[in-house]
């Protein structure tokens, strides 16, 4: 993102109004076109924005979708506290389904105890969809995040295995979303498809949206591994001969502890974060997700397997 020449702006400006209104329009179409849609809530900033948009879209009625959290149980405790607070603050129903449940059922088999659980979320999500009979799941994915996402539709059909089939996507013309599903199919809906990371941050600032404290700079024990700062936690212990350091860091995304890394930062306030994001020279995922770095096509493979 080139955001060098961008300053935070108030919410009433046109660029903002245009993307906010688009997201609200999509959320209202979702409420109308599906019998039982869920809002996938990870505790991250993008899903916090969607919850906020949903509350604006339907005010004074409550958010018509339950928040669904697929818990890897490899979450930072701040994120779990934030999740519960958010549901309370917006008066939303919260459903949590845990990866441990899938492990106990034997539907998720971990290769190693300490491996990243992110790729396995897909299984638990599909089980939750089946159990609670959701016909649509609202997600916070953005097209600017990653190359594979650039071709994603706003209403995106998943087959009965939860797979995205990029070759047979429905054409999406104007703002006329086709919400019809055949048996076994499920919809993923992405209301902030057209937002950039800078848009998300500016919106969070303008609307005073709460975020987990992890997003703001704090002192944390980390170790540097091939240019990436890895937080020292019980799940990600030091390796022999490594020396930990206390660094001022913040997270740019939240996820499985074993694969989510902070960046060095002193941005403690929203204004400071905005400034940092605006000057950001590293793409969001490149900086913080070890599991995506493994391969350029990792995201697409994961999506084919049903996550998002």
């Amino acid at each position: 993102m080139n955001m060098n020449n961008v300053a935070p702006i108030p919410a009433q400006d046109l660029a903002f109004r245009s993307i906010e209104s688009e997201a609200i329009h999509i959320l209202r179409e979702t409420a109308a076109e599906f019998r039982n849609a869920a809002l996938l809530f990870s505790g991250g900033k993008d899903s916090a924005v969607i919850v906020h948009l949903a509350s604006k879209a339907f005010w004074p009625s409550p958010i018509p979708f339950p928040l669904l959290h697929i818990d890897t149980e490899h979450n930072f405790p701040e994120v779990i506290a934030f999740r519960d607070d958010t549901a309370k603050r917006y008066g939303a129903r919260l459903s949590v389904r845990s990866l441990e449940g899938s492990i106990e059922r034997g539907t998720v088999v971990l290769g190693r105890e300490d491996e990243s659980r992110n790729p396995h979320q897909a299984v638990t999500l599909l089980e939750a969809i089946e159990e609670m009979k959701f016909d649509a799941c609202i997600g916070g994915a953005r097209r600017d995040e990653e190359k594979a996402r650039a071709k994603e539709r706003v209403f995106s059909v998943r087959n009965e295995f939860g797979q995205w089939e990029p070759r047979s996507q429905r054409p999406e013309l104007w703002d006329l979303y086709n919400g019809r599903l055949s048996k076994g199919e499920n919809m993923r809906v992405f209301p902030i498809s057209n937002w950039t990371e800078a848009d998300v941050w500016r919106y969070i600032a303008a609307e005073n949206i709460h975020l987990p404290s992890l997003y703001f700079a704090h002192e944390r024990e980390v170790v540097e591994r091939s240019g990436v700062l890895v937080p020292i936690t019980p799940l990600t212990p030091l390796k022999p001969r490594e020396k930990p350091e206390m660094r001022s860091v913040r997270f740019r995304t939240v996820g499985d502890i074993t694969c989510t890394c902070p960046v060095a930062s002193t941005a403690r306030t929203m204004d400071e974060i905005l400034e940092e994001v605006i000057a950001a020279r590293v793409s969001e995922r490149g900086a913080t997700r070890l599991d995506d770095q493994a391969s350029d096509s990792a995201m697409e493979e994961r999506k084919r397997a049903g996550y998002f």
């Binding site: 660029a15 245009s18 104007w174 086709n178 490149g286």
Partner: protein
């Protein structure tokens, strides 16, 4: 620092060209010259250059997304890209050039404020160029720009450029559309893309980016009469908001004010606006493209799919429509079968009564239909709907003049449609 860039709504741009005209290179070049390539991707480009021993980055690497297409080396689906200049934000629908994907062109153009058509200076105007100009014309893309690329390969020859520019101008006039602006560029060398080229002193126009920076965006919506499809009725029935009854929708065109008289179509009932809300914030006035919830003075029977409009400038109401369908599905139109039509926030039962003629996608001339409307063809049809529809012609208002057709058996989106008017 300037904040004016985000004061304007993003400009939605669609790009198209034939395979190898240099579209990926152009978009990559734009991102690169605007300094919009993140460091990690920039490094990946440099590593690739080293590996292949090249001196200019392979910009296509920045934009070619899906595994499947990387294997085949072609882009097969519309991809969306985001970047900002110092003036505004852009949303680019990057449409693949492969012939069979005309439907992608329609997808990209359906939402676009501006279209950039790429032409290889050596090859000149091709069938694909005409196809793109026709679709942009049909879908009423406001700003049409022609980028004549690879000028470096023809010695930056003015005459060649002028010949292409004139041919396009002539063609556009025959389509009844304004003459597009043409700009000579080299995407690879970065000439006249973001920076002006000193290789083409004879060109006194601005570089491509300046043309995009100054293109009118969605502001024209404000000049059209008020239209707001009702997406839903908001009835909280809580103790605090016991009697609240709001209508939710996005103002697609025009503006509204508290105290204003509005009508609800197709029934045509008239009432007065008593409240306009965005979230819990109450507004005195709102305009396109704001999503709002409104309350009105009278208890009316309003449901999802109704259209709120200005009684002084009402929409049309009909049961039968004349429309042009851009056929997208693999299975051709079947005149015996029922279809669904999504228009605004309402889904109608529909049948195609007649297929009158096809439009030649490279000239927009009428051609005989011979009973078939197949993938990537455009046909003029008469539609009969199960219920009254309130609409404007597409020409008058994109938001209320567009529709999509759905096959209820497969649930596929089989066609995009442009309403020409009521049908006898």
């Amino acid at each position: 620092m300037s904040d004016t860039n985000f004061l304007r709504a993003p400009l939605r741009v669609t790009t198209a060209g034939s395979v190898d005209d240099g579209k990926s290179t152009l978009i990559g070049r734009l991102l690169y010259d605007l300094d919009a390539v993140p460091i990690d991707q920039r490094q990946a480009l440099e590593r690739d250059m080293e590996r292949k021993g090249r001196t200019i980055p392979d910009f296509a690497l920045l934009t070619d997304g899906l595994l499947a297409e990387r294997e085949q080396g072609i882009t097969v689906d519309v991809a969306y890209r985001y970047f900002a200049s110092t003036k505004r934000k852009f949303i680019i629908a990057d449409v693949p050039g492969h012939e069979q994907y005309t439907r992608n062109m329609a997808t990209g153009a359906s939402r676009a404020d501006a279209a950039v058509t790429l032409i290889d200076a050596r090859r000149g105007v091709t069938v694909q160029t005409r196809r793109h100009l026709c679709i942009s014309a049909l879908l009423r893309v406001r700003t049409q720009i022609i980028a004549v690329n690879k000028m470096d390969l023809i010695g930056h020859d003015l005459r060649r450029f002028a010949a292409i520019r004139d041919e396009v101008a002539d063609f556009s006039q025959r389509l009844g559309r304004p003459i597009p602006t043409a700009v000579p560029i080299s995407a690879l060398a970065g000439e006249n893309v973001v920076h002006k080229s000193d290789q083409m002193q004879w060109y006194d126009g601005p570089p491509l980016l300046d043309l995009l920076d100054s293109a009118p965006g969605e502001s024209f919506r404000l000049e059209l009469p008020l239209r707001m499809p009702v997406q839903g009725v908001n009835r909280p029935q809580t103790t605090e908001h016991h009697d609240f009854r709001g209508y939710m929708g996005r103002i697609e065109s025009g503006a509204m004010e508290v105290g204003q008289k509005i009508s609800i179509y197709p029934a045509g009932l008239t009432t007065t606006i008593t409240g306009i809300y965005v979230g819990s914030t109450q507004l005195q006035r709102a305009d396109a493209p704001t999503s709002v919830t409104i309350t009105v003075a009278d208890e009316l029977d309003v449901t999802r799919g109704d259209l709120i409009g200005d009684p002084a400038n009402p929409p049309q109401v009909a049961r039968k429509l004349a429309a042009d369908l851009i056929w997208l599905d693999r299975a051709p139109l079947d005149l015996r079968r029922p279809y669904l039509i999504k228009h605004g926030a309402r889904t109608h039962q529909a049948k195609v009564e007649t297929l009158d003629h096809l439009l030649d996608i490279t000239t927009l001339a009428e051609i005989e239909a011979e009973g078939q409307l197949a993938t990537n063809e455009i046909g003029r049809v008469a539609l009969r709907l199960g219920t009254d529809v309130s609409f404007d012609t597409y020409e008058a208002n994109r938001a209320t003049g567009a529709l999509v057709m759905i096959d209820p058996a497969t649930n596929a989106t089989v066609a995009g449609g442009i309403i020409r008017g009521a049908s006898a």
